[in-house]
Amino acid sequence: MSAAQRTAELSNLRFSLLLALPVLVFLLLVVAYPLGYALWMSLHEISFFGGYKATFVGAENFSDVIDDRKFKKSLWITVRFTLESVALAMVIGLLIALVLNRKMRFAGLVRTIVILPWCISLYGTGVIFSNLAKGQTGIGTAIAYALGFDEAVNVVNRQWVIEVLAVGNAWNMAPLVAFFLLANLKTIPSRLYDLAAIDRMSRLETFLNVTLPPLRFTLFVFTCITTVLSMKLFDFIFVLSGGGPGTASSTLTYRIYKESFKDLDLGYGAAMSFMLLALILGTTLLLYAFWGRREARSI
């Protein structure tokens, strides 16, 4: 290649910059700038009444959050909700994938039905599940009456509201998990199942030794994705339970919403949202350290 050609031909770096730089600048504007601004806000007390005013208070917002009992309660609710959501979404996703992996008629139709919950919005899911679980309209009440009982069955109560939320959330997320696991399942050569049959493996052994290994990295990635999605979930909870009854389902996101936009304490809300971000990143890093790294190496 001549020198003239080389200069006419853009280098890798310059071409990347040319394509990506405007975009990265935009991303910086819409992600880094707000994050920086939020950090600045978390160090100030912001008031809107009588004009916008910000007073520097240092780390006071953060120490207030840590001392806040409501914060600890919300933290626990978020953890419980996330654990239940992720477990349900992964198990149901895997089961759906296994069911869909068989040869069947109308496969396109069945798969279209199965992916629907993921396409529907989260507020829609919230409305659907509040209709399904509340005593007045719920399916529990209808079944109870059909069986001859005459008592309303309401599961959106202090005791069960988080489980209702987790089921609805899993209903929404499971199809995505299922479709990516299904794509993995399709890559397993059927020859391996024949060999397993020759080895007289039981169904469980076949599942553990043939089916599961190629899925493991995908399972890890989707455990991370569903964890992040559950921890940052807001609109679904807002619509279904509004953080209630009382504060029984006030996850961190709901509390941040309330502190920031109802009580307009934006500095305090910003400080709490950094705690949530730390929780999200911390959990994913832990998942990677204890699970993902091992799986990545084994591939």
Partner: protein, 288 residues
């Protein structure tokens, strides 16, 4: 005729999956077809005894005369619903187009080229995916209040892009990586790098590009958190926030149901396309 036991089991499993998926939707959908009399009943009937599409006319402000001569009046919130529908379409269309323009080159660069600090920048994109919308909203909210952007479509479009761009980029990186290595061949044929991208890579990856467009559309169509806090109660309200009126102010179950069913139409229309192509997107690869 003998049917194998395993066949029965697999049909049963399939039935459970379909019921698990459709039962919650059905239980809600039926509300939109119930008569006011049926809705007031306790417990509610398991299926509409006299299914009527009245609510679907009502939410657009039309009266509907029932078989028994009873007229069901149009909803008082019809104007908001119609405006919300228009705004939702505008926001979703603009967000989809902008997202594609931004994301295609970005994902291509990350997938196919090497440059310094690539992994750090990739991490920044994944971080943006992990940001909770309520957190992102706090600085935007303060900023918009001061700039006068709250309650405008422009403001809503900008924040919605913070959801669609990182996620779709991440999706497409894995997709572009798996396309055949045609760059060298294209260069031999005299294509410049830019031409290679526009004339070869994008057409080659058109199903991925289509999925990206559909996902961007779905995400902005389904977006509620930002709309709730930025445009709710203004002339820029989108369909979901317009529906909130039914949720919290005037409980009218059949109108609420009909309006929510309306929001589910686009997702239902793209479901067939998505189930065929979603798994081509490789969410797992960029993480590896």
């Amino acid at each position: 005729m003998r049917i194998r036991l395993s066949t029965i089991w697999s049909w049963l499993a399939l039935a459970v999956v379909v019921i698990w998926t459709l039962l919650p939707i059905y239980w809600f959908l039926k509300n939109s077809l119930l008569t006011p009399d049926e809705i007031a009943r306790f417990p509610q009937p398991l299926y509409p005894l006299e299914p009527t599409p009245a609510a679907f006319f009502n939410i657009f402000g039309f009266e509907y005369e029932m078989a028994d001569g009873l007229v069901r009046r149009g909803s008082g919130q019809a104007n908001q619903i119609i405006r919300g529908l228009g705004n939702s379409l505008i926001v979703s269309a603009v967000v989809t187009v902008v997202t594609l323009f931004v994301v295609l080159p970005l994902a291509y660069v990350f997938a196919r080229l090497d440059f310094p600090h690539k992994n750090k920048l990739l991490f920044a994109i994944l971080l943006a995916v992990a940001l909770p919308p309520v957190s992102t909203l706090i600085p935007f909210y303060a900023m918009y209040v001061r700039l006068g952007l709250s309650g405008t479509l422009v403001g809503l479009i900008i924040v919605t892009l913070t959801i669609t761009i990182p996620f779709v980029t991440w999706m497409l990186i894995g997709y572009f990586r798996n396309l055949p290595q045609v760059e060298r061949l294209a260069r031999i044929d005299g294509f410049s790098r830019f031409e290679t991208f526009v004339k070869i890579i994008v057409p080659l990856g058109r199903s991925g590009v289509a999925v990206a467009a559909v996902i961007a559309f779905l995400f902005s169509w389904n977006e509620y958190t930002y709309a709730l806090l930025l445009v709710n109660g203004t002339t820029a309200n989108t369909l979901p926030t317009a529906i909130s009126g039914f949720l919290f102010q005037h409980p009218e179950p059949s109108h609420l149901a009909a309006a929510v069913v309306l929001t589910m139409v686009p997702p239902a229309l793209v479901a067939f396309f998505l189930q065929r192509h979603i798994a081509e997107m490789n969410l797992v690869d960029p993480v590896r």
